[in-house]
Subunit: 215 residues, 2 copies
């Protein structure tokens, strides 16, 4: 457990919350699992590889997680938390509804997150959602929060009916742009992606509000 330990740039360890050694190990293993997922995909992700990635033995993995499924479920939660934090951080600095909207959008394409490997792992996890109840629930929660964030901003900018539609469009568009990144790395830049979504929002807001007050 020396040189093989994977330390993502966003893998800072809060010395306060991680009192227990076991918690540290668990976090290490979750991250190792995710790293393996990035490289090998769900089909190639084996307990042994995860152990190796964490610089430990296979036994230890099953000591901290009941089984493979549970391990990867926690890996998904971990990854989601990171993504979510990026959005929340930006959200805290936003004042107007429009700023909050941009916060969500830009947070979803954070420089160090909007990267092919992360996307590949994410894709693999998503591909298993239909066969893993827990993964499905996590996914559902993630989407619900995203949606909620969007709606709270949009309610100040459009009718509830329109806000709903636009929120769906934004989430779909974001997911679609991530997918593009995963399928053809380099085909979408962070800036392009952000612009796309912002343009979409602008287009929809203009289209749906039939001249509210006029300039």
């Amino acid at each position: 457990m020396d040189k093989n330990v994977n330390v993502d740039s966003h893998a800072w360890i809060d010395p306060v919350k991680l009192k227990r050694l076991s918690d540290i190990r668990r976090k290490e293993l979750r991250q190792a699992a995710f790293a393996v997922l990035e490289r090998e995909g769900i089909a190639g992700a084996t307990l042994e590889k995860v152990a190796a990635q964490a610089g430990a033995s296979k036994g230890i993995v099953l000591h901290y997680f009941r089984n493979k499924q549970e391990l990867f479920e926690h890996a998904m939660r971990e990854a989601n938390a990171v993504l979510c934090n990026a959005v929340v951080a930006r959200l805290r600095q936003a004042r107007t509804p429009m700023e909050r909207l941009d916060a969500v959008i830009e947070g979803n394409f954070e420089e160090h997150l909007f990267q092919p490997p992360l996307c590949h792992a994410w894709l693999s996890l998503c591909a298993e959602v239909p066969r893993d109840e827990k993964l499905a629930r996590i996914q559902k929660v993630i989407h619900a929060r995203m949606r909620s964030n969007l709606l709270s901003s949009l309610h100040g900018l459009a009718s509830p009916r329109d806000a709903n539609d636009i929120a769906l469009g934004v989430t779909a568009l974001i997911d679609g742009l991530w997918l593009r990144l995963g399928l053809q790395p380099g085909s979408v830049s962070r800036e392009q992606a952000i612009l796309q979504v912002k343009n979409y929002v602008a287009g929809q807001l203009a289209r749906r509000e039939p001249v509210t007050v006029g300039a």
Copy 2:
């Protein structure tokens, strides 16, 4: 090979092109592979299951396909062909650029195709793209054609620069809506999806063309 033969609704067999028995077998196996993918995902898709699905023995699968990889690469081609045909069929009946645009959009959400199982299989395949050169190429071709179809329609409706942007947006939005369907079946209806994309296009076209001629 009697009752277990899977015959998708879209699995019509052209008696002209499929002279050779081997071609029939290959097509059966490709479709069986895809069916297994729908149920089990890439991680659970095994040669034995594919064989069972086709009502044959494992040996026969490897008789027609060099190895597992090749089998699933052909499965992806097959699925793509189906999707593509749906679009092409509609495209043939379209006259104006706008009609062509709608053809692409509606073709991508064809009733009997826009279904969770198909999406799940598709997702599993996409998740493997980063580790399979061939899959990546197929994926690239698919996207290129889609893009080309969109651009040929859009060139009559927007500047080349804008057309590019809009084409990217449309593909991403379509993919994103499919993803939603896969992650939360029932959360997006075919009609909703189509409306979303059409609204997007309308919003963008209105936004980008600063009053070309005026009504």
